[in-house]
Amino acid sequence: MSNDITMKIDGIECVAAEGEYILNVARANNIFIPAICYLTRCSPTLACRICLVEADGKRVYSCNTKVKEGMEVTVTNQEILEERRAIMEVYDVNHPLQCGVCDQSGECELQNYTLEIGVDSQTYSIPDTKREAANWSSVLHYDPGLCIVCERCVTVCKDMIGDSALKTGPRGGEGINKDAKDTMPKDAYAMWNKLQKSVIVPSNGTGETNCSDCGECIAVCPVGALVSRDFVYQSNAWELKRVPATCAHCSSGCQIYYETKHTSIGDTSEKIYRVTNEWNYVSLCGAGRFGYDFENRAEGKNKEAFDKAVEALQKADSIRFNSVITNEEALMLQTLKEKFGTKLVNPDAFAFQKFLKAYSRSSGKTLYGSDFKEIMKSDFVISVGCALHNDNPNARYAFNNIQKMNKGAGLYFHPVADPLIASLGKSVECFTHKPGLEEAALYLVLDLFAKRERLPQDTIDYLDSFHSKITKTVQEKVMEDVTETVTDAKTGESKEVTKKVPKTIEKEIVVDENRLALLLGGKGDFAETFQDMMKKKERFSLIIGEDLYFHTKAENLAALVALIESSCDIEIVMVPPKTNSLGVALICDLDESAEGYCVGYNEKGDFRLSALGDGDLDMPAMNQQEGTLTNMNKRVLPTNAALEYNGYELNDMMVALEIGKHLTIDWTPMLAGKRGFKKANFDELPNGYTNSGVENRGYALENISTHAEAIQLQKFDESIALEGEIAYRCNPQRQFNDFSDKAHQIFEEYGLYASTAKAESLGGKVEVDFGSSKMIFEVISDDSIEGEIVRVPDFKSEKDIYTLFGEDRYKNVIIRKV
């Protein structure tokens, strides 16, 4: 950890970590420094230059100047004020006076700073350039006329999201009058010069972005230039009611606001117009931002169906459900199990629960040690068994942010090659290994990072058995002195001239060959690459993904993870497979398979409770109920109801069965009995961030120490690696479940995703034979994957993909053209 230092901003003493930027220190201490282009967690852009301050008598930009011990910062003086005013005047040159209809509707930083700095007249002018509004993708709408080219969208896309889908392009504007250089303040001139030359364009050179459509660029836009296509001219921001909530699509559990208003003049029922976030502290994915209208508009209380549901619950032998439920609902189901002995079946949480149990047997604690906030501070990140692009957007953002912000390095072990991950940083090494070799990947991590003295002897021997010294012939260029006798043509004199001539010689060197790296598809020179990657690295982290939970050798993998954590100084995080898999895994005692009469909650069953509106009894969707969710950062987070719901909820059934509470949220303090949960009332749970970016949401689960057994490792078996035609259970990037699918702005279709080349060879429609059953898929070409493995999405529960794949995420299949 870096040391704390003391410095003064405007005479106020501030304590800050060394190496922190002045601007961030000021913000954390509630001191206002104007800044437009800077984004917390991203690199300084230096486009707006308005954050100018005086530090120890020198003019510096507070967004890119690091604090020093004893530094004295003055935020404003006459000169700086003039500079800032000139900058704001320049921003206002030719800015359309259409604030009345602009979608930013007053939440505009240009407007705010113009007023803050008191620009009441204009001194500069330049002919305007015609710039046409355009749609960049199915969700993005860009109006360059309103754009002030602060480049926040470009920065967030590169440093946070990793798509790097935007860049600045030529504006075609007229050059600034030369006299301006001498007459106007110099920072304002420099900023204007740049502004007059650029607009934002998609970085692939076409008019359309090829990105993950996360919409984070919309969130960070300080003006109304970037808006979602669906929201253009729909509503003023001030008409919308902001409901703080937690996103229910994946296990990131991002903090979001549902913004609601009446649907129209004729229809007064509430409707969600958009989702916004605290973009300085959390980045959303496309599903979170655009997949919000999955509510279940129940007609009313259907008493008849309700009575049947209560009866069904009473006689049910098993309940099938998925992890898109709150902790409270999970606790209700667990209570049912305790009372009636009903089996609880949830395939994704079951695998994760087994993995966690195996992990805690070896590690002596219930939960993994770190969280994503912490690993974002590391500078070397490894990902094993996680399809970063698809499984969890925030895991990918963390992986990317480490590369961009911490000058980090990364190792990515995954059987499906992803060109995007390789492009995230210069020191990212991708291992495209055969499915089934995840153990080898973890052994390689052990081999590369473990402190040998902390490892058991047999493991050391096992690891050493993969190393062999081989002699390799390398070609090396050396400069050789060559002496020649030159005869001068005129004088006839002979002279000896010495010249340096390059020569290639062959040399034999002894290198250490690591068979593990080669087995995993690493390049021959991996040892050297790795040495480069390790330079100046201090903090290491490991992301564990779903492939490891759904693995024939999951228990051995869990033990390996525990050993890595204890022997390597690597911080470990796991990505729970679905939204609340961690909560369900901690709260419920799950069973492997369903039998007898089965009630399905958002899943198949003899009697279906459904928040999708297609079951025997309607249930509230996640945006219609309050409760808590447990996310991958091991926090219990509150979410609120954004829309009204008129039907019955699970607690009503519990009341009918005489084990219910008055309200669903009365179950929240009851969670206390479960592993790591606290006795906290729902209404007391906070949901926000402080100015310094501290996450003040819900509470953190307690990581309880348990009895640790001695770690028994098994050697990996190379023969379990899959060959041939392989299907991988993995969702497209903005799809997570039936609810994201229901949302009208999520366009990713259900089908068989294959790399462009593979899709071409497969044709339009195929039949996939899983052995137990066959399914027909449309083939969808996806340029975000490479190689032969095809992906089968599991977001539609009616397709029952989990049963097809069983305990694995990869499966040998036979694909036939139809």
């Binding site: 209809v101 007249s121 001194t123 500069y124 002018s125 003023n236 008409e239 003049i265």
Partner: protein, 207 residues
């Protein structure tokens, strides 16, 4: 007038001007004399003359002062706040409303609602607009806040109707397109002051 005079609350110390009048009679004789003096001064006939003159003017010279409401109406002040009018641009005939929603926001009785959308010409279009006149208190804030002088108060002060809906929709309040020539510019609440030009600084233009 400065505020000083309003702030002076020493009532009784001001220099009041007394009305000049005859002294009040005190004895019975004086009272009797006053009655006789006033009764026989001839003013009675002056009054009779005035009445007769006005009657003749009204009946025979066409100078009738009675307004035959509801067939006739008195002109009202531009500052009077009656049922709203929606004005059109004189040049294009398009309605002035840009859908900014300020009237909806400022309305203190929450009676204005509007729906907007992105239209084919990339403009913000008001797809529906309504004022609930059952709630409207005619405070005039909407007209004052309107940046385009699109919503103004008109002269329709009769708020009785068979149905409230008769004048609550956008089209009902909008100037009929064939009556565009007759559209009056609004001088009331929120209109630009006559000296507006002197109050603004001009922005330099490069062309």
């Amino acid at each position: 007038m400065s505020l000083e005079e309003f702030k002076n609350r020493n009532v009784g110390q001001q220099t009041y001007k007394m009305v000049q009048s005859d002294p009040t009679p005190k004895t019975g004789k004086e009272q009797f004399e006053q009655v006789v003096r006033r009764a026989f001064k001839g003013e009675l006939f002056v009054g009779l003359y005035v009445t007769l003159r006005e009657m003749i003017n009204a009946l025979f010279r066409g100078e009738m002062h009675t307004i035959k409401y509801p067939f006739e109406k008195l002109p009202i002040s531009p500052r009077y706040r009656a049922i709203h009018d929606m004005l059109r641009l004189l040049e294009s005939g398009h309605y002035r409303c840009i859908g900014c929603g300020l009237c909806e926001k400022i309305c203190i009785s929450n009676c204005i609602k509007m729906d907007t959308r992105y239209d084919e010409n990339q403009r913000k279009e008001v797809s529906e607009y309504t004022i609930n006149f059952g709630r409207c208190i005619f405070c005039g804030y909407c007209a004052e806040v309107c940046p385009e002088l699109a919503i103004v108060h008109g002269a329709r002060y009769e708020t009785a109707s068979e149905q409230r809906a008769s004048f609550s929709l956008f089209e009902d309040m909008l100037t009929p397109i064939d009556a565009l020539k007759l559209q009056q510019e609004y001088d009331g609440f929120g209109a630009i002051s006559p000296n507006a030009d002197q109050n603004i600084k001009k922005t330099p233009l490069a062309y």
